[in-house]
């Protein structure tokens, strides 16, 4: 205690100055200095000082000095406490940890952001404290306290803190049951008021912000690749086997999701193989010392009729693996709503760039053909990767942004390049092959491939051969006119993405494949759409192109492999024509990847 007498004016000025430093911080009991000294009272016991503390300096610990004190009630890019939406299931009891009133073990306790009630000296025996929380009713924000190693929920409505509690100090934990929403920006204020009867002894408050759901970018380090399998399902086996071989070669863990599980198998139509579409994988985190502490989180497709999406809740959720699901109960415009746009092949992230250190989400959505508005609201409410860049994909039959764009890591100051679909490049390439040798014009593309069902399938009688010569493709006026139109659409979305991220032309790689019209002017990949790939590390798995052989190898495979090699990427090719391509999807659509929380996961430094 500082016992040296000090002029009143100096004490008052210091108090004003220090409260000012804390911006709108707690109201300090009058007559107290910031370090708790008893200002102008000589030889008298110090007045009780009420103080709540949080990890405002984001170093992973709560201390009662420095920035943790100064900035405890403020929040900006450099200071302010964070807490988690506790949406994982650390005790594996099938209930999300943030949905109940208990702390489910040591690991769950680590997911609580700590708030400390600093010990209050010189407190009368009849003093009591009351905690109040300014927070929304939905999602629930809960406060816990730990006594003798046991956590229990604090009933803020009914419970008071005793003088003994307050003298000893308390450790509290705080969690949310969900992420920020359109109605709640994620900020809460926790206040403590200490009283003696009707007399105020002192009070304090702290501000915390809930961590957002952050979508992993394809450049984040990958831990695991997923694909949906189905024992005995014709043609799916070839794709799974290829993925298995490729991931073994790359030493990348690979897990299949059983698409035939009775809980989600669709009667008569087998597995829902669109693993990209029924879930989006991401993460959430708060400061944790050396590295952020958080969890992987799966965002379930808002389409409630997608039965296999139940896998995300039943199987993905567990320790360190959370779950979130937001969808509309009713669509504002049922006619314009297209459930296909609620698939997550239609939600991608431009990798980090200036102003967007966690990348920026982009999504196909226009008024005439739109996705679930609740999904868009939820994503925008997370802020750090938004606002979601909305692009026109209504010219595509499926309508997903992964049909025309993807990203690869490269050794450059930016660290990545964009791949963009290019019918123009495909046409030019075919023309060049014919110009080099007119005999190439009579070579057959897609030899042995079929539309609708593969060879030897029980329904083979209903199939149509896909084989076609290069000349007949190039001479097909309707096909070429359609591709020129699609190229115009692609040029516009390319321009939007390129402008947004400030990409130079040499940071965009055109991936050649032709499109075709499916119906009503809407197209899909005619040649396997190689831009739609699975990326982890420096490995890209693309659809096997089934072009013709030149010098003993599929010319398109050679071309794509060379293009990727020039960027330091190893290209692999997976057989997926029958199960994915012929059904309007490719490798990316049929896979997903669980990626690590980036070491640079300090989303709290993003000023939005």
């Amino acid at each position: 205690m500082d016992a040296t007498p000090r002029p009143r004016w100096l004490t008052a000025a210091l108090a004003v100055l220090l409260v000012g430093c804390a911006e709108d911080a707690a109201t300090s009991p009058s007559g107290l200095t910031a370090d708790g000294g008893a200002g102008d009272v000589v030889d008298a016991p110090a007045a009780p000082r009420v103080r709540l503390l949080v990890d405002a300096d984001r170093d992973g610990t709560v201390s009662d000095t420095g920035a943790d004190v100064t900035f405890r009630a403020s929040w900006d890019a450099t200071h302010g406490a964070v807490f988690l939406a506790n949406v994982d299931d650390d005790d594996d009891d099938d209930a999300l940890d943030g949905a109940d009133d208990v702390v489910n073990g040591e690991e769950d306790a680590r997911d609580l952001a700590r708030v400390r009630v600093a010990p209050i000296a010189n407190l009368a025996d009849d003093a009591t404290g009351r905690l109040t929380l300014t927070a929304p009713s939905t999602p629930a924000v809960r406060v816990f306290r730990i006594d003798d190693g046991v956590w229990r929920r604090v009933d803020l409505e009914a419970e008071t803190l005793s003088a003994a509690d307050l003298r000893a100090g308390l450790e509290l934990g705080i969690e949310a049951s969900d992420f920020p929403t359109a109605e709640w920006a994620g900020e809460v204020t926790l206040a403590l008021a200490v009283t003696r009867g009707a007399e105020s002894v002192g009070d304090d408050r702290v501000v915390l912000r809930a961590a957002p759901f952050v979508v992993s970018t394809s450049l984040d380090e990958t831990d695991l690749v997923y694909a949906t399998a189905g024992a005995g399902v014709f043609s799916l086996g070839r794709f799974i086997n290829d993925l298995d071989a490729i991931t073994v070669e790359d030493e990348m863990p690979f897990e299949t999701i059983d698409g035939l599980d009775p809980d989600w198998r669709e009667r008569n139509f087998g597995p829902d193989v669109w693993t990209q579409d029924y879930m989006e994988l991401g993460w959430t985190a708060m400061p944790g010392g050396a590295a952020p502490h958080g969890m992987n989180v799966v965002l379930r497709t808002p389409n409630p009729t997608r039965r296999i999406a139940a896998w995300t809740r039943r199987e993905f959720v567990g320790p360190g693996r959370g779950y979130v699901w937001h969808h509309s109960q009713r669509y504002p415009s049922a006619r314009a709503h297209d459930p296909s746009l609620d698939s997550f092949g239609n939600l991608e992230v431009i990798p980090p760039y200036a102003g967007h250190p966690f990348g920026r989400l982009f999504h196909g959505n226009v008024a005439a053909r739109s996705s679930d508005p609740e999904l868009r609201e939820f994503l925008n409410a997370q802020r750090v990767q938004g606002p979601v860049l909305e692009l026109d994909t209504s010219w595509l039959h499926v309508g997903h942004v992964d049909e025309f764009a993807s990203f690869i890591p490269v050794d450059s100051p930016r660290g990545w390049k964009m791949l963009i679909a290019s019918p123009r490049a495909a046409r030019a390439q075919l023309q060049a092959l014919v110009a080099a040798d007119p005999a190439n014009g009579e070579r057959v593309m897609f030899e042995g491939q079929r539309w609708f069902y593969p060879q030897d399938h029980p329904m083979e009688g209903r199939t149509y051969p896909a084989a076609r010569t290069v000349n007949s493709i190039l001479a097909d006026e309707e096909l070429m006119a359609f591709n020129q139109g699609d190229q115009a659409h692609i040029d516009l979305v390319r321009e939007a993405l390129q402008t947004e991220a400030g990409l130079r032309d040499d940071e965009v790689i055109e991936i050649p494949f032709l499109m075709w019209e499916i119906e009503n002017g809407q197209g899909a990949a005619y040649m396997p759409g190689s831009v739609n790939l699975l990326l982890y590390g420096r490995s890209a798995t693309m659809p096997r192109p089934h072009a013709f052989a030149l010098n003993g190898a599929d010319f398109m495979e050679t071309h794509l492999r060379d293009m990727m090699r020039a960027e330091g990427i190893t290209a692999h090719f997976a057989e997926q024509w029958d199960i994915l391509h012929a059904n309007e999807g490719e490798v990316h659509c049929g896979t997903n990847a669980l990626r690590r929380i980036p070491a640079r996961g300090a989303w709290w430094e993003v000023t939005r």
Partner: protein
């Protein structure tokens, strides 16, 4: 259920389901349906399997289409793969017999659209009476589009005139979008003149799309183009002017400008940029960049 009863119910269901044509009966007046029915009767007797294929489409079976990524019924590709020999069975399904199985609304709409588009794509004059009927009676934009494109592909004099004379908004938009397919030399200048003068923004956007498709340099490069250089330049100037004047149609007009592409459009965009208001500059600059990039290749 006993087997006989089951068979009976299937037959009854088939009879009910096949009782009505897929398109509005006003679209197939007796003078159209009678000769078509006679032709179909003779053709069906000769090759029933062609009719069987059209009457049993994979793309309408939920166990098939729910496996696709779009997850909705769609038959256009399947019908297209059947080739020209499917024309009469398709016209039969559209205008006479319908489909021999109950369909959901979405399946029925997909079948109608798929049949119309595929019939239209074949460019066979035998389909014209049905397409004329559809164009005159439906209000569904996608079906109007398919019918108009079928009429424009063959482009008989009376159909070209009818397409140019369409006045009701959905018909007019469908016709304008389709006329680019018309091989008649009269179509492109008429479309350019309309684009220069129309006061209807949706009509302008449709005309631009039609002109761009008709001017496709990928489909008909060089000397095979349906538009000579002066007309292309005029069309390009009109396109850019309308782009500036009609902010709500910029996405469609931008796609048309890029589809048409070439030096004329780039020159028109650069000209348009010279005195463009600030709000229009970013969009025009983006178009300029794309067009220039394309020309550099």
């Amino acid at each position: 259920m006993r087997p006989t009863l089951a068979i009976l119910s299937v037959l009854l269901l088939a009879a009910t389901a096949s009782a009505s044509p897929l398109i509005d009966s006003r679209a197939v007046p007796a003078e159209v349906s009678r000769p078509l029915a006679a032709t179909v009767r003779a053709d069906r007797a000769r090759r029933p399997e062609a009719y069987q294929r059209v009457a049993d489409l994979e793309g309408l079976r939920p166990e098939f289409y729910r496996r696709t990524r779009a997850g909705r019924p769609s038959v256009a590709l399947e019908l297209r793969a059947m080739g020209p020999s499917a024309l009469l069975p398709m016209l039969d399904a559209l205008a006479l017999s319908g489909y021999p199985r109950d369909l959901s609304d979405a399946e029925r709409a997909a079948l109608r659209l798929g049949l119309l588009e595929t019939v239209s794509n074949l460019g066979d004059p035998r389909a014209l009476p049905v397409l004329r009927g559809v164009f005159a009676t439906t209000a569904e934009p996608s079906e109007l589009r398919a019918a108009a494109r079928g009429l424009a592909r063959v482009c008989q004099e009376r159909d070209r005139r009818a397409l140019m004379a369409a006045t009701a908004a959905p018909q007019r938009a469908a016709a304008a979008g389709a006329l680019g397919l018309c091989p008649s030399p009269e179509a492109p200048p008429w479309m350019v003149a309309q684009l220069e003068t129309t006061s209807d923004p949706a009509h302008a956007a449709a005309l631009a799309a039609g002109l761009a498709e008709g001017a496709s340099s990928w489909a008909r490069p060089g000397a095979r183009s349906r538009m000579d250089a002066p007309l292309r330049a005029r069309a390009a100037r009109a396109l850019v002017r309308r782009w500036r004047e009609l902010p709500a149609q910029r996405a469609a007009l931008g796609v048309a400008a890029l589809t048409m592409g070439g030096a004329e459009v780039l020159a028109a965009v650069r000209e348009g940029l010279r005195d463009a208001p600030a709000e229009a500059r970013p969009g025009l600059t983006a178009l300029e960049r794309s067009l220039a990039r394309d020309l550099r290749r």
